[in-house]
Structures are given as C-alpha cells and as structure tokens.
C-alpha cells in the first residue's frame, strides 16, 4: 500500500503543486475581503438608519466612515476577484474547458451583480454630501442584498464542485444533458451557502467591533466607540448561536454527502460504530493511523448521527489514491474552526448577559481583550473552514468525477513557480498597503475629531454639535 501511495504522488504532474499553491494563496487572500463586501454595507446602513431616525450625528459619522472603508476593501476585492476569474483558465483549463458550460452560469450572474453593486456603492459613497438624507439611505439599501446574491452565486459554483449536478456523462465521456439551473441548486448549496453567509457576517462584525474595542482599551470611552462596538457586536452575538446550529447541520450533511471528507475532518481511520472524537493528533498516511491527539469516546458517532451506535465510514474504505491528499491539514483546520466557534460562543454569551444586565459595553479587562482578538479569531476560523472544504475535497476538483491533476494546466511547472512567487510578493505588498492605508484613514479621522470640523452630513443643514465624538 505504501508503494502505491508514493507512486501516485510521483505520477502527479509537476505543475499541480504550484498551481494549487497559487490558487490557495489567491483564494485565501480574496476571502478576507468578501465578508467586508457583504456585511460592512449592512452595518453602515444600520448606523445610517439609526442616525437618521434619532438624529444621531455619531451614528452618521460611523456610517459614512464605514462606507469609506467599504469603498477601499471593495476595490481591493475587485482586483483579487479578477485574479481568481483569470486563474479559472490559467490554472484549471481542464475544469473550465470541460465543465464551464455546466457550472459557469452562476459566475455570469455574479459578474452582473458585482457590476450593480459597484454602481450602487459609488452612488452611496459619493452621495453623502448632497443627496436628501432618506433618498441616500434608500438608494444604499439594495447593496447588502445584491452582495448576498453575488455570494450565493459563487458559493453555488463551489458547492457544485462538491456535489456536482445538472449533467450526465455519456458512453464517450462527453458531457451531455446540461441543466445549468439544476447545477446551481445542487445538494450542497443550502448548507454551504448558509454556513458561509453567517460566517461572513460574523467575521466582518467581530472585526469591526475589535477595532473599536482596541480604541476602548486605549481609553477612548466615548459614544462614538460605544456605538462602534455595540452595533457590530450585537449582530455577531445574535449570529454565533445560529452558526452553531448551521455548522452542525453542515457537518452532518457532509457526513452523508462526502464521507471521505468527513472521515478526514474527524480523522476516522477505521470504519465502525462508537467512533471517538479525536482532537488534533497527526495522521500517518502510510499506516492509516493517528498519532497523538486527545480522544473523546463515542462523541464523533453521536455528533454524526445522534447516537454512539452510528456507523461512520473511515478512511480505510477509501482507496489510498482517493484519500484527501493531506488529512492532517483538513483535520486540524476543522478542529481549529470548531474550537474558535466554541470560544466565540462563550464571548457571545458573556456579552449577551452583560449587556442585558447593564445595557453597556462590559467593563471587564478579560472580556475586552477577548473581544479585541475576536476579529482575528473569526478570520482564522473562516480560512480554516475554507481549507476544510477545499483540501477535504481533494484529490477531486469535481467530486468523484474529475481529479485535480486532470484539470491542471500543461504550462511548464517552472513558469508556474515564477508566477506563484510574483503573486505572493505582489499580495504581500497589497496587504501591507491596504493595512497602511486603513490605519492612515483611522488616524486622519481621529485628528479630524479633535479639530472638530463642522462638515455636517447631508449638506447645508444647521450643524449639530459633534462634541460627543471628541474623546
């Protein structure tokens, strides 16, 4: 068996590794900007609504600043999204060439929705000065829905790779009977989309809250920071329990739909009932065993089917060449995601109870440090979840139908390594640039709060005192 695994690895074309590395890097970079594109517009509209309803200038200040930041992240996301659409052909011509007609339609849908979002975002960002307040708000209102539509399309295409539908392969190996609508509404779509949408809102909300918590910890305890914490943290607190349920349903669905992925996630080596839940540990592919890790008896069977008697197929039932290429990574990523989810559940409970009792940001150092790190933690969970989905599907690019090495480009591996290095360098610069600019923005705004400029929102209305904004 050992020889067989090695032979398989050697058989993989040399360009597969750099192509996968480049795809992983660019996707993991792009995914950082997705939650901001989806959820930041919602938060800015909530602040905008609050500001208009209560004539609250602090809320309006938050709204216009969040919209400005959304403009920047939207632009960088547009660039990194373009990279991905090129890579569908540059790296995976076997996939788009053969199956483009089946799963391509949602990308066309997303392209148009992105266009619509770009137009609406431009109107919203450039409309603060002169549009009538409520007109401005109503023109911005479609943005989150259009963004959700875009995310739906992309997740649909990814879900199709996990649960391909909407076509048949005839005796000659040709793709026929294409039904692009059946491909869009594939079996994995409901849980993958729900799980990602809630995750995206959590990531953006916890990140925005984290930023203001850091300011709060530095002693900027004004209403501006209070609102900046309370609006996103409330959203996140409501969503964490939802995600617990959705995440559990997703895991159970993966158990049914993709047993090999589930076995890798939970590092189930031998099939059977009474499967233990193994935390971390290291998988040895040569012997199909786990070294180290903490084992909780029966829990895995119970989670998968509600009883310790649930039969869970293990990796021993998957032919070695069809096992996920790196079980340890999938398993660790899954454990990290679930672990962070559990921590965030505690944070949400803490915040929920504290807010219910005192109606304010909890004044506890441990809570504040915890909340300040929640943004980064959620992002680690999002990335880990993405690794579970993608690495867990390997060696398939289209589950059980097309192997990743069949889809990869025949471009010379050396060329791919060069382009991978260039892109890594470019993205590093881009990441540093984005962070620098966002920090410069926040510094500039803090200075303008101190000088208290009297640029009232929505044109020449009598300026309401912004004194609350000043620390």
């Amino acid at each position: 068996m050992v020889d067989r695994v090695n032979a398989d690895l050697l058989a993989a074309p040399a360009q597969l590794l750099p192509a996968r590395e480049q795809m992983a890097l660019t996707l993991m970079f792009h995914i950082v900007f997705v939650p901001f594109g989806i959820a930041l517009p919602t938060m800015m509209l909530i602040a905008n609504y609050k500001g208009l309803k209560r004539n609250d200038t602090v809320a309006l200040t938050l709204a216009r600043r969040w919209s400005h930041a959304a403009g920047l992240t939207f632009a960088v996301g547009a660039a990194s999204g373009t990279v991905l659409s090129f890579e569908m052909g540059l790296l995976w011509p076997g996939l788009t060439g053969r199956f483009g007609e089946v799963f391509g339609l949602p990308f066309a849908i997303e392209g148009v929705l992105f266009f619509l979002e770009a137009i609406l975002v431009a109107i919203y960002i450039y409309g603060w000065r002169r549009l009538k307040p409520w007109t401005h708000f109503w023109l911005g209102l479609p943005i989150p829905f259009v963004a959700i539509g875009g995310a739906f399309s992309i997740i649909s295409a990814n879900a199709w790779m996990n649960m391909p539908a909407g076509f048949t392969i005839d005796a000659n190996g040709q793709v026929t009977n294409v039904d692009p609508i059946a491909a869009i509404f594939n079996d994995a779509l409901p849980y993958e989309f729900a799980h990602f949408l809630v995750a995206a809102y959590m990531a953006a909300a916890f990140t925005v809250a984290s930023i203001y918590v850091v300011g709060w910890l530095k002693g900027r305890r004004d209403r501006y920071h209070r609102l900046g914490i309370l609006i996103p943290l409330t959203i996140a607190t409501v969503l964490v329990p939802v995600q617990f349920v959705v995440g559990d349903l997703t895991a159970v669905a993966v158990f049914k739909d993709q047993p090999a992925k589930f076995a890798a996630m939970e590092v189930v080596t031998e099939s059977g009932t009474h499967q233990p839940e193994v935390l971390f540990g290291r998988y040895d592919s040569a012997t199909n065993t786990v070294v180290g890790g903490v084992s909780i008896p029966g829990l895995n069977s119970w989670l998968a089917g509600g009883s310790v008697d649930t039969y869970v197929p293990g990796l021993d039932q998957v032919p070695p060449e069809n096992r996920p290429s790196n079980v340890t990574i999938v398993h660790w990523a899954f454990d990290i995601m679930v672990g962070i989810g559990t921590l965030l559940m505690l944070l949400s409970l803490w915040f929920g109870i504290a807010y219910w009792r005192k109606r304010d940001v909890p004044d506890n150092r441990v809570f504040l440090w915890f909340a300040a790190s929640a943004g980064v933690l959620t992002y680690i969970a999002v990335e880990a979840g993405w690794i579970v989905t993608e690495v867990g599907r390997q060696p398939w690019i289209v589950y059980n139908i097309m192997r990743t090495e069949e889809a990869v480009t025949n471009t010379d591996a050396g060329t791919l390594w060069i382009s991978f290095s260039l892109i890594a360098l470019l993205y590093l610069t881009l990441a540093i640039g984005t962070i620098t600019v966002l920090r410069a923005m926040s510094r500039r705004w803090r200075q303008s709060d101190q000088t208290d400029d009297d640029l009232a929102v929505y044109g020449p209305r009598p300026a309401v005192a912004d004194s609350e904004v000043t620390p």
Binding site: T82, E101, I123
Partner: protein, 354 residues
C-alpha cells in the same frame, strides 16, 4: 437567430465596451506615467485622477464579464487561450492588480512618497495590461492557438511581429481614446490650460494608432495571408468607418464638442473591434474551431441570453441613475472622510464624478 452566435455577439459587445472604457482607463494611466515630474504633471494627473477614479471598477467589470461568458459559453476556447497564453495573460493580470491597487490606495495614502509609488504602479500596469491583452488578441487572430490544454507555443504564440504589433496598437488605442475623453473632461471642468495638452496627445496617439494599424496589416500579410485577406475583404467597410471616425474626432477636437467627440472616438474603436470579429467569423480559434463547434450546450446558451436580458434590466437603470445624479451635481467626494488635497490645484473641481 442561432443561440451560439447570439452569445458570441454578446461577448463581442462586452469586449467592445471594454475596449472603449476599460482600455481607455489604461490609456489615462499611460498619460499619467508620461506626465513628467511632480510639479509639471500635477494638473493633468489631477484631471486623470478625478476622471478615472469613480468609474474604473465599473469599466473593469466588462473584462470579467467577457471571461465568464467565454468559459460558460465557449469553455474549450477559454481553456485553450488561457493555457497557451499563460505568460502574457498572467502579466496582464499583474498589471490589472497593480493598477487597481494604485487606485485604491492613492486616494487615501497619507504620505506623498506612497502616493507617488501608487502612481508608478498605476502607470506600469497601464502599459503592461493593454499590451499583453493585445498580444493575446494577436495570437488568436494569427491562428496560433490550437484547441487543447497549453497545446500552442507558450512563447512564439504571442512574441511574434503580428502579435507584438497588435499589442502596441492596443496601447495606442487606449492612449488615443483616453486623450479624447480627457480633453472633454478638461472642457467640462473649464481647465483651458489642458485643452492644447490633450488635443496634441489625442492626435499624436491617433496617428501612432493609424501607423500601427497599417503595420499590423503588413505583418499579417507576411504571417497569415488567409487572415489578412479576410480582414481586408470582409472588414474594409468597418476599417474605412474607423478611419473616417478617427479623422472626424481630429476635426471635432478643434472645437471641443464634448459629447459628439467622445462618441465619435469610441465609435472608431468599436468599428476596429468589429472588423476583427467579422474577419474571424465563424471561427473562435482560426482556423480550427468554429462558434458552432465550440459552443456550450443549448440550455446553457439560452440561460446566458436570458441572464443577459435580465442584466440589462438591472444594470441600465442603475447606470442611468448614476449618470443622472452625477450630471445634476448630486455626487461628490465626502470631505469628512476623504483625504484633503495637499495643495489644491484650483481649476480642477472634485465635485462631479465621471
């Protein structure tokens, strides 16, 4: 009408719009790059910045749309082109990211040095991207892309006289059409000082484009005679139209007829793009794959067309609203969140977005 040809038409339409808008944005970047030192270039750079910043994302979307329609409607063509032309397309992509990053950052970068760097990134991307995309068009036009996964030559498919000349022509097209747009912008903003500046550049780039276009034809004759004949025999009315519109824009530039001038210049570019399409028809990849043979399943093509109509219903009103609000002067930078201009060059207004 046949659905495969209709989808190919939609793709060409999006490509035409990209040539008239997205490629023009790169042209603006070319003028930004060549505007000279920091003091001398301040006025034109400020105009370029104000003209392009609000619209580049929307203009850029056409390219993404072309890509996704291509891989959905004509998957094997997409796979063949992208894999054989890995190098120029990866370089074009590099330029796109550099350019987008430059735009996203330059507005809010606090330090002058960083803004300067962003300007450089924007400028380099502005040459690299249209050139590489042009060489890719040249590779398709000269029949150097066989069907298959990286089946063509990775280097000579795009590094040959015809393809290089098409690449340079694409750069010239962008430079020309953007100079015309910028002349119109200068007029709209009452920046009289820049009238002569961009008029000269529009004419220079127009002449350069004309010479490069002739160069492409000559190279094509030597290189791929069959395609050269098709370009001339089928495309001559469009080529003549393009030439007439080029001359027309030269003439209109004298009196600066803002709207007409822009339309005539864009029309000239559109005629050129369609001359290419007509010459190639019915081939997606000359002379090995036709539109019919390379097309997706009819169900997919039908849905692409349905979605195209739906997209028009969604996007056209939104775009109209954007332009209507803009023309009424309802849109502008939010001074409370934007970085104030260090030394505001007084003639250029930031109040309108275009």
């Amino acid at each position: 009408m046949n659905t495969a040809i209709a989808v190919a038409g939609v793709m060409m339409l999006a490509l035409t719009l990209y040539a008239c808008t997205g490629i023009a944005d790169y042209g603006a970047g070319f003028w930004d790059l060549t505007a000279g030192g920091r003091d001398r270039g301040r006025l034109p750079r400020s105009l370029i910045d104000n003209a392009v910043t609000p619209v580049w994302e929307a203009n850029h979307v056409w390219l993404i749309y072309v890509l996704v329609v291509c891989w959905t409607g004509f998957g094997s063509t997409f796979a063949s082109v992208m894999s054989t032309l890995y190098i120029p397309l990866a370089l074009a992509l590099l330029g796109i990211v550099l350019r987008a990053a430059g735009f996203a950052m330059s507005k809010d970068a606090a330090r002058a040095r960083m803004r300067h760097l962003a300007g450089w990134l924007f400028g380099i991307g502005s040459f690299l991207t249209p050139f590489c995309l042009g060489t890719a068009v040249g590779a398709v036009l000269t029949g150097r892309i066989p069907v298959g996964n990286a089946a063509g030559d990775e280097i000579t498919s795009w590094l040959n006289p015809s393809s290089i000349l098409v690449g340079l022509l694409t750069v010239a097209i962008g430079a020309y059409v953007s100079a015309v747009y910028l002349l119109a912008e200068a007029h709209r903003h009452g920046t009289a000082a820049l009238h002569g500046y961009f008029r000269l550049r529009a004419r220079a780039a127009g002449v350069a484009g004309l010479l490069l276009g002739i160069g492409v034809l000559i190279a094509l004759y030597a290189d791929e005679r069959q395609m050269a004949d098709r370009v001339v025999q089928r495309g001559w009315p469009l080529l003549l139209l393009s030439l007439a519109l080029l001359a027309g824009s030269f003439w209109l530039a004298t009196g600066v007829r803002v709207w007409l001038m822009r339309l005539v210049a864009a029309g000239g570019i559109a005629a050129l793009v369609w001359a290419w399409a007509v010459a190639q028809y019915p081939y997606l990849l000359p002379f090995s794959l036709t539109v019919q043979d390379g097309a997706a399943d009819p169900a997919t093509l039908r849905w692409l067309l349905i979605w195209f109509v739906a997209a028009l219903v969604l996007v056209v009103p939104a775009l109209t609203l954007l332009f209507w609000l803009d023309q009424r002067g309802e849109l502008g930078e939010d001074p409370a969140t934007s970085r104030p201009e260090p030394v505001e060059p007084e003639p250029v207004e930031t109040e309108t977005i275009r």
